[in-house]
């Protein structure tokens, strides 16, 4: 009795420790990263895997699109490098969109961990690099070959010696070699930090392998997820989500099927693949679908392969949710991050009154570049050369019992970048970045507010903006349970014209870029909104 009790407590202790180890790994990445999207906005993830490649713990720091894609990315390395060939000090890398995290900008780095010459675990981490060559951060390419440099599954470090040849190839194919080099080394160092801590932990607890602990974690988590699923009725529910698309509108068709403790989302019938880079590789589609399911059904169950394995998807190849190489995928999140709303559209029928309204969804990556190479030299006399990023965040849907959150990413987990950091890197300046009145959909619980951003140039030169991820310009976030839709997104020049598509656009000298992010949908009948909340909105000037 007492021995068993002590063992149970010790297992719990080791589980907590494992989570602390991956959190250290993530913090190390955040603190050493160069790209603002990683270090300021937190676009990264970190996790630990058993020798079979099953994710057993992940860091809270990070974003679901990375975490849940990485859950499967690790196993793909084994086809190229079987575990038996791996040595201490090795590090493996890829940016394969289909077998990594969905586009060429995300590098996945995997490090095997050895204890007494035996392979005991893997650490993997990923972050978004600022530039990978090709046509840049644009959805305009027609194939992944144009989108940047592809690094197949390769060795980045062999028995503690960095692969300088590979580094030269990568750095020779980016517009920002300094940041890229720094970020790649950050990934290496983050995994090393995790590995060091794991070995210490295993020595302390006298573990020869993680098998027993790993099995316990996965079994318990799976059990937790199954118990949550069993509370739902069996059945099928459908939802159709219209999106702006690129050359033509996109329709996401989702059918949720729950049966015997298993949950599946069937996307068959969804629009065919786009000729532009808004396609979401299957792994990314799966990541956000599973995220949305778990957030409603089993939010408190730890995120690992045990709990994730209770959820699956079905897709047709050659659709926007399952493009096949070499379909372009740079802006995969413009489709992938909308899938949470498609899933919620089904789930709200299973759990009426319990699922939040639709959100802005896709984060708007405000990627600014100097106009070098796009206009004549005469227009760029004494012009600075730069490539900077701001994050445009709209509103989240109204929630059962609470208004929607204003200006935050959902389902993505990344944050904004300070104005004083952005403007320090370029001559651009923000004239405005504040809440947009009337942007949250009406409801008993109002949709989250969006914001209005206006950007000018201190130089009398043109600059460019990538509209690759701007969506919900034609299709608003819908309300739920009688709530009204949020406001539509707007992307235009100060002089008037709207940006025509998801390509890279020139903002002429002296002109400005204005974006209004989409607002969140409202939840519940607007007539039921409490008087004091209406009054508070009016006093704050966010509803006029």
């Amino acid at each position: 009795m007492s021995k068993k009790a002590l063992e149970a407590i010790q297992t719990q202790v080791m589980w907590n420790r494992l989570i602390a180890v991956v959190e250290e790994q993530a913090q190390s990445l955040l603190r050493t990263a160069f790209g603002t999207i990683t270090r300021e906005a937190g676009d990264l993830s970190a996790g630990v895997y058993n020798p079979a490649g099953d994710m057993i713990a992940q860091a809270m720091t990070g974003t679901p699109g990375h975490v849940n894609t990485m859950a499967t990315a690790v196993k793909h390395f084994f086809a190229h490098y079987p575990q038996s060939t791996m040595k201490p000090g090795d590090v493996y890398v890829t940016n394969d969109p289909w077998q990594g995290t969905g586009h060429l900008f995300d590098y996945v780095m995997m490090t095997p961990v050895f204890l007494d010459k035996k392979l005991v675990a893997f650490f993997a981490s990923t972050c978004h690099l600022i530039d990978v060559g090709g046509i840049g951060f644009s959805a305009k390419a027609n194939s992944s070959f144009e989108e940047g440099t592809y690094i197949p599954h390769m060795m980045f470090r062999k028995e503690n010696v960095l692969n300088d040849d590979l580094m030269k190839v990568i750095l020779g194919n980016t517009r920002n070699p300094i940041e890229v080099k720094g970020d790649l080394l950050s990934l290496v160092s983050a995994n090393d930090t995790g590995a060091r801590r794991l070995v210490e932990m295993m020595s302390e607890f006298k573990l020869k392998s993680l098998d027993k602990l790993g099995n316990h974690i996965l079994t318990q988590s799976k059990k937790g997820a199954l118990e949550a699923i069993k509370k739902l009725p069996d059945g099928e529910w459908s939802y159709v989500l219209p999106l702006d698309g690129y050359e033509k509108p996109v329709t996401i068709k989702a059918k949720l099927k729950i049966k015997n403790g298993h949950v599946k989302v069937d996307y068959r019938g969804t629009s065919e693949v786009s000729i532009f880079g808004i396609n979401s590789p299957r792994t990314y589609t799966e990541a956000y679908t599973v995220f949305a399911l778990k957030a409603i059904i089993a939010p408190h169950v730890p995120n690992n392969i045990g709990s994730l394995s209770c959820f699956e998807i079905e897709t047709d190849p050659h659709t926007v949710v399952d493009p096949i190489r070499p379909s372009p995928v740079t802006s995969r999140h413009v489709t992938g991050q909308m899938l949470a709303d498609a899933v919620f559209g089904c789930l709200c029928q299973v759990l009426p009154g319990q699922v939040q309204a639709e959100s802005a969804g896709s984060i708007w990556m405000l990627m600014f570049n100097s106009a070098h190479g796009r206009v004549s030299k005469e227009q760029l006399v004494n012009a600075q050369q730069y490539s900077v990023l701001a994050i445009g965040l709209g509103g989240i849907g109204g929630r059962p019992g609470k208004d929607g959150l204003a200006c935050m990413a959902f389902p993505s987990g990344i944050g904004g970048i300070p104005i004083e950091i952005i403007e320090g890197q370029c001559p651009l300046w923000f004239k405005e970045k504040q809440f947009l009145a009337n942007s949250g959909g009406e409801g008993e619980w109002r949709g989250g507010l969006a914001q209005r951003i206006e950007v000018l140039n201190r130089e009398n030169t043109p600059f460019t903006i990538s509209a690759a991820t701007f969506d919900r310009i034609k299709n608003a976030a819908q309300g739920r349970e009688g709530g009204k839709p949020g406001s539509l997104g707007v992307a235009r020049l100060g002089s008037g014209p709207h940006l025509p598509d998801k390509g890279i656009h020139l903002v002429p000298a002296g002109d400005a870029l204005i974006v209004e992010l989409p607002g969140g949908g409202g939840f519940g009948d607007p007539a039921k909104r409490k008087l004091e909340l209406r009054e508070a909105d009016r006093k704050a000037g966010v509803v006029k």
């Binding site: 009795m1 009790a5 002590l6 149970a8 407590i9 719990q12 907590n16 420790r17 602390a20 959190e23 250290e24 913090q27 603190r31 050493t32 160069f34 603002t36 270090r39 906005a41 809270m60 300094i178 080394l185 290496v188 160092s189 930090t193 801590r197 302390e204 937790g224 995220f291 778990k294 957030a295 939010p299 408190h300 730890p302 995120n303 939040q356 994050i391 019992g401 609470k402 200006c407 935050m408 990413a409 990344i414 944050g415 904004g416 300070p418 104005i419 004083e420 950091i421 403007e423 320090g424 300046w429 004239k431 405005e432 970045k433 504040q434 809440f435 206006e454 006093k539 704050a540 000037g541």
Partner: protein, 693 residues
Amino acid sequence: MMDKRLKLAADIGGTFTDIVLEKGKQRWSGKVLTTTQAPEMAVLEGLQQVVKEAGFKPSDVDVFIHGTTLATNALIERKGAKTAFITTEGFRDILEQGYEKRFDHYDLMIDRAVPLVPRHLRLPITERLAVNGDVLIPLAEEQIAGLAKTITDEGCKSVAIGFLYAYAHPKHEQRVAERLKPLLPNDVTICLSSEVAPEIREYERFSTTVANAYVRPLMAGYLHRLRDGLAKLGLDAPLYLMMSGGGLTTLETAARFPIRLVESGPAGGAILASRMAQSLRLPEVLSFDVGGTTAKICFLSHAEPGRAHRFEIARAYKDMKGSGIPVRIPVIEMVEIGAGGGSIARIDKMGRLTVGPDSAGSMPGPISYGRGGALTTVTDANVCLGKIDPEFFAGGKVKLDVAAAQSAFKVQIGEPMGLKDFWPAAGVTEIVEENMANAARVHAIERGKDITQCVMIAFGGGAPLHACRFAEKIGVRKIIVPLGAGVGSAIGFLQAPLAYEITKSAIVTLDIFDAQKVNKLLREMTMAANVVVQPAMAKGKPSIKIKADCRYVGQGHEIQINIPSRALRDTDGKTLKAAFEKAYKSIYGLTIPNQQVEAITWSVTSSSPHSKIGTAQKATKQAAPKPLRTRRLFDAASGKLVNAPVYWRFDMKAGARIRGPAIIAEHETSTILGSRFTAEINSLGHIVMEISK
């Protein structure tokens, strides 16, 4: 020379106000209940008691040092002044938008911190400076009168002003303050972001400035009432305030920048650890301070705690990181987790045993207090396991109900988990000690420390109960429980130097080092810091410590390095870069070749010299005293109940040595000696515990 002055310290905590009086080697202490509504009452009452007990009069006191959580509580409970915030037009919502980040992926019901200033009082003014100070939009001075009218009509008692780039270019902020002041009622206070927190990143700077403005009327009022109350008692000694950064400041400066007082209690604890490290010549120290609500862990290297510039107050959603109000102030770097005596233990939805972060506090408190608490807490677990003696608790003033705690553990933890006897309680202490250990480990990597090389200093009412097991978990071999451990923070106040830190952002590349520019900046900062410290010093000059936060160009997070306090030369850039790279490599395992390094933020600390401190001598071996009695105690290392002798701490003479398991009791806490440890009293009266070979 021994300091012969009569020194008084008061630490206002959430539950108790601790008072310590010291003269030379003699020390008296006392605890009174905190009087939340008028905190000066408890201070005045408590100090009279202790001073009288020691045979003095209030007018005998030579110096009075004070720390308080009052500012923190005002922020947590939202009891500060009605405040307006004047900011750059187009950016009034920065204060609410914050980091624009969901701090939990899966919890869809999270709330961000509600801003201290509601939107209708966030008042835009037309103006805009560029990053280099160029005027992009001139300041519309004609709008100031209108703002003054709004502020007056709304009845605001405090105004914060925060403009973009004011950390480097304060001219617009200063101009608005200058024009606004005469238009407002006399009792309205004004705070500028360029004075409160002149650092890059607008949200954090604005947030700090607003928080300062929000607590200023309250804190200034309290401090002045205290000053008057002391005067009535005839106590006219100089009064200094403990700051969160570990230094002391004058009442006037504290009333201007009260936000710097938020974590002053825990800072006192770190000072105590620092002085212990000096006295015992300990190179690497882990300070471990456990109170009723939280455990604080802080690393010290060569008696210096780590220092940081950021702190998050008043976490609003499930105590989660990211849901509070960030402030940029000098703080002693520590982790604080919800793992104190009052932390609640329960079974979560996954069937797992969890402890904290919520606490039963002092009302209703743990079940064993018998004041209405119904949920099992860490204190209750310690009672069930024999670690807390129900007779001695709080000097015998509070009788503990052991049976109630035992039956609650059986029902709330034991039955759902299938655990019997003492095991549910043992599970709770094991989990809470593991939580402490995890926090310590993560913090160690953040600080780049090898935790196993540290000596632990354990104080605060709860730490001596958990220190041995916590040490075993993190691989620490030696623990010191100082004399007066139960009121450790207040003792720390008495040992703090008078010190003031000024921080300023100015980006300088180390590879192309402009010594002249840096020297000018540091000279100005040094003068400003000396102005606070010099007048309070009896004689001599303040000493100056300079540090810079550096990073590779392109990174966003910095590592702090020491800067020599002399005029710098251009060639110093190279030396500083080498120091940075050495520190970087020790933390992250590699450097980035051929990458430039820049200093982002500079800090200058002016301080009075430390008071002299006694060092430990070798004590001659003494026989162990006779134990008071024997108790049944749970020993975590062996996982069973054992018979443990209970010793009265003050029966143990220097050099007396005992083996674990044992309990060393005193009025304000008990030290649990694990079965793998031995304990000895050193010549200064501290308990030194070591793992037996």
